[in-house]
Symmetry: C2
């Protein structure tokens, strides 16, 4: 009989506790892919389609990057400023204390990466060539934004589906660059540095090793198996340069992390060849989610070390290299982040990470 | 002309950065209250209605607490174990290291507080007497759970509406008690202690003072107003014992904090009279949200200091009293927590906290 006792797991990188409570979850029946409704008017007015280039703010970058007039059709990927930016580029950055409070002007960048002229597709349904160009486009913008030493952090992310926060259907990702290092990164930087300084090397490299080599079972007093920790079971996919797996303390069902197998501190270190492998990995992993869960809403983001062009300061964690390993985290919106998660910071994951990985491994895609 | 420059604000208690980006937000037109669809079958099978007491696990507590047989009708509030608990009560607690990972069995409690026999009502639409009994019921369970010194933290929370994670329509709150102090609390405990040890007193008491006394304006180089910080403007409601306001660095539109005006470290310290005032404050604040936003989905949770019956250890923050001020945080689900928020830990709030407070202040309720 399976053991449904809830179990607390601690993520070694973020220190975050997760409750793995698999009493409710069943293997999903592969459903018909959901297609989100869009009015014909919204479709006709899409600012990301060919011929509508004038509806967006003037473009920042496009591929191919020669032989084409700016803000006209003919591009295969296109980057424009967000029309409703969370940040703008202001002449001055000022940090101020107001009584007991601290504030700053919102200097930064907020860009949209249009993934192709195709309105009716998804990232994973593009050909491998097109996905490679999309990943190259992220890379071009990441490298360019890090030339500004005021921008300490560049975050590439994607919202897929309305329930995941996508306000336009035409496939796109976003890039936000900020003058502060986001909290979600600080926690990782601090814990990864401490792991490294304890002589244990890169904490992500170590997790990859565990995926391959570690197996264990924990027994109840009566001799029955309390929990089986066969780390390899959490692997979802692998290719020459990348590996995808469900983390030990996954926050939600089908949380997937994609990492380069060799140590790199930042996405900007990737070669064109590696980005081709990343494109292949994204295609496989997202296609598995599409098939298994029927086009679920999801978010993903790229976590690299902070901008190394920022002037280093003693004790600053902006210069970390050996102890940070860049990666992509995919979060599928199958559960709702409710009062308990908000009030505690603890996630309740109703699906055992080993089961999630097995279902994905067994899901065939082209 | 209003200034729509995005602005970064740092919350002094959590250290969390928020982007206040009010270019998009408009004052809402008071909409028709949404009523959520529920099938007649689900309605007929509601386990929280009179006559269905046998559908829940056996009750833990009920009001009135005498003159009634257990698990029968006639109660005005009723507390039962969650049928799908994130935690259960297990005989042993064990923390284990498995290779590089840490795990523990899920010891704890997970209870449901049924707010009244009325299926078709909302917390705020109950009479003041009933809301007082609901708050008393939270208090009874909180006090009782803290008798178990293994339970370091008791979290009372409520999910209202499907989009906020409520799976049953019948009004109820939940209580989860854990053997760990949740991360969301640790951050507050550490920062509040440091504020206190710096000789600046309770950081929440200080924020309440700021609401009343602090006014400031910040000017652009050309003399125009960059931002107006009139803290009193963030106040939403006040009564003899409680105050409700929008925090300086609100994470989302209409985030509201309710605090006792006099310093108390835990909800368990409240007197019956104070709980009556809290009931009145909840009724006013939630009714304002109901009217202004048309029955929005929301979550709230109570943050008290950890269980003081836990054996104190040196350097432990479980014994904090003078530096922690209990409070309720209400989060209205008007925005989606998307890739940027997940990847950065930074929230983008499209509504200036001063405006949010003004709209709520101006919303008349009985």
């Amino acid at each position: 009989m399976p053991d449904f006792s809830p179990e607390l797991r601690k993520d070694p990188i973020t220190g975050r506790w997760v409750i793995i409570s698999s009493a409710r979850a069943q293997r999903p029946e592969a459903p018909e892919p959901r297609r989100e409704e869009e009015s014909p008017e919204a479709r006709a007015r899409c600012p990301f389609c060919y011929g509508h280039e004038e509806m967006t703010p003037s473009e920042i970058f496009a591929l191919p990057n020669n032989g084409r007039s700016i803000n006209t059709s003919g591009w295969i990927t296109r980057v424009v400023p967000n029309k409703f930016p969370a940040f703008g580029i202001y002449p001055e950055i000022s940090l101020r204390r107001v009584g007991m409070y601290q504030m700053a002007t919102g200097y930064g960048a907020h860009e949209v990466v249009i993934e192709s002229p195709e309105h009716e597709t998804y990232l994973e349904h593009n050909g491998l060539d097109q996905i490679s160009r999309i990943v190259d486009t992220w890379w071009e913008r990441n490298v360019d934004l890090e030339r500004d030493p005021r921008l300490k952090y560049v975050l590439i992310f994607k919202n897929h589906g309305k329930a995941a926060g996508a306000s336009l259907a035409h496939p796109h990702a976003q890039i936000i660059a900020t003058t502060i290092i986001p909290d979600a990164l600080k926690v990782k930087l601090i814990n990864a540095r401490s792991h490294f300084e304890n002589g244990e090397g890169c904490i992500w490299c170590r997790q990859i090793e565990h995926l391959f080599y570690y197996e264990n079972r924990i027994y109840n007093p009566d001799g029955s198996v309390l929990v089986e920790v066969r780390q390899r079971d959490r692997m979802v996919a692998e290719n020459a340069k990348f590996i995808a797996y469900i983390p030990f303390a996954a926050r939600m069902p089908y949380e997937i992390h994609i990492l380069p197998k060799s140590h790199q501190y930042s996405f900007i270190q990737t070669t064109e060849e590696e980005r081709g492998e990343l494109a292949q990995m994204l295609k496989v992993v997202l296609s598995k989610l599409y098939v298994l869960l029927g086009n679920p809403p999801y978010n993903f983001y790229v976590h690299s070390a902070p901008n190394l062009n920022v002037r280093p300061r003693t004790g600053d964690y902006t210069t970390i290299r050996e102890d940070f390993h860049w990666h992509i985290e995919i979060l599928v919106r199958t559960t709702i982040w409710a009062g308990f998660e908000q009030g505690s910071g603890i996630y309740i994951n109703p699906l055992n990470p080993n089961d999630a990985a097995r279902y994905l491994l067994e899901t065939a895609v082209e």
